[in-house]
Symmetry: C2
Subunit: 243 residues, 2 copies
DNA sequence: CGTCAACAGATTTTCGATAATTTATTTGAT
DNA sequence: ATCAAATAAATTATCGAAAATCTGTTGACG
């Protein structure tokens, strides 16, 4: 499959394109967890040489989306219940700090951008008519944007970059779970409550709502992950017992 | 200057060597903040081709030690008072969480490793007779090891990796400040108190001691940074006024 | 005198080929 | 048949040259 480069990639170096394409393919699970990333395959897929690809993969390794084993090449990072739990717990703690600082320092600009982000999110459909099995790219982007807006006034670039990295990782699990998930959840209400509490500077309530919000995602994704893993394990056991 | 590869680099890919060498050169400020990193120069310095170097630089960009500007190449990340403050504040928050979890979960293994790390640190001289202007590599390693041991039982790989990245960044500022610093501080007592409080599971005291410890470093480094920046600014102003 | 275009040099980015390493397959001895 | 060494195939890691881009300079023109 040869993918065309998005409009935004014009004027970028191939390196930057490779990075953006790979990251988005991994987060959306078009490249599945634990899948081997052969350089030759990726060269065909993205239509470029080895250098930009390997450089992008190196960068993604630092971000935790890719793993490199010496002389054995790259793989998409594996997923697991342990990692998911660790990720979400850590994310809650990081966002707790960021929210504290953001509610403390946020001014009218922050309030306005938060309202704006919520509005855009609330008007964006979660599923895409073209591709009903996956979450719409557009919704995913607005959703990320909303959560980013909540903490954007925290005043710490370092903390914000940590947070967005964790959010990305979590997003990959969400993408994975959507593939086999039941009814869509009503996030609009949840997000609205979160925004209201933040705007009213009700710190404890905001933190609690955020905790619940993240934990709800965790539960859903975790269940879905368990369901998709169990059959694989059974298959493994059958194979073994047949031998 | 052509540096020989350390013993540990045998059997590694050049890529991994480049990464380790570059990271350590940057943290020790042998490559100074904001210094341009020309590929050709680095090729000579480390005796390898472009690929492993660029791949390592890409990785370090994700770690925040290096910055890349499209088509203009790499630089060592700039330092600033704002970044230093942000870094240290964030580090305190992260370590606070990690310490909470570590004191909660740490068992006898953790206690033993902490005692061991403290002992090694306390027996290691801070200055190296061969190079009296810089902090000894060995001390720096034991120091990092001690702080790592404090939080090692926290049970969250994600949090630990975030913490060690922040610690590394802070270490670069410390290396920078040492070059122009006054009397060495007595860290042994500070570290001993920290360890004692942790081993006794006195959570609040541990957190407070850690906060103070980090803030003391911050103050010292910040003062040193201000002192070294001011003359540079004056020089700049002179240059401009001469034109 | 200043502005802009065209050129030249330096530097970054990218490519495809080669070297090194791992993985799979075959062969031969016990 | 079993195991191990030897060979072949596949893949990764690395290199150095070529292409693309940026930076600084020169000179023409308003």
């Amino acid at each position: 499959m040869r993918l065309s480069l998005a409009k935004s990639d014009i004027n970028q170096t191939l390196n930057a394109s490779a990075l953006a394409l790979l990251r988005s393919d991994i987060i959306a699970c078009r490249l599945m967890p634990n899948e081997r990333l052969r350089v030759e395959t990726l060269r065909e897929r993205y239509g470029m040489g080895t250098s930009p690809i390997r450089e992008a993969l190196m960068r993604l390794e630092a971000e935790g989306l890719v793993e490199l084993e010496q002389n054995k090449g790259f793989r998409v990072s594996e997923v697991s219940q342990e990692n998911l739990l660790d990720l979400m717990r850590t994310r809650i703690e990081i966002e707790t700090i960021a929210l504290c600082w953001s509610l403390e320092k946020g001014g009218v600009d922050w309030e306005a951008s938060l309202l704006s982000a919520f509005h855009r999110l609330s008007r964006q459909s979660k599923i895409d008519s073209a591709n009903p099995d996956a979450i719409s790219e557009a919704w995913s982007k607005e959703h990320a944007n909303f959560h980013s807006a909540l903490v954007s006034a925290c005043g710490s670039p370092t903390l914000l970059s940590i947070r967005s990295r964790l959010f990305e990782q979590a997003d990959r699990y969400v993408a994975l779970s959507i593939m086999s998930s039941g009814p869509l959840r009503d996030d609009v209400t949840e997000h609205k409550q979160l925004m209201r509490a933040a705007l009213n500077r009700e710190l404890d309530k905001t933190l609690e709502l955020n905790r619940v919000h993240v934990n709800r995602t965790l539960d859903k994704v975790s269940a879905s992950l368990a369901a998709s893993k169990a059959p694989a394990d059974l298959r493994m056991m059958n194979k073994k017992s047949l031998k």
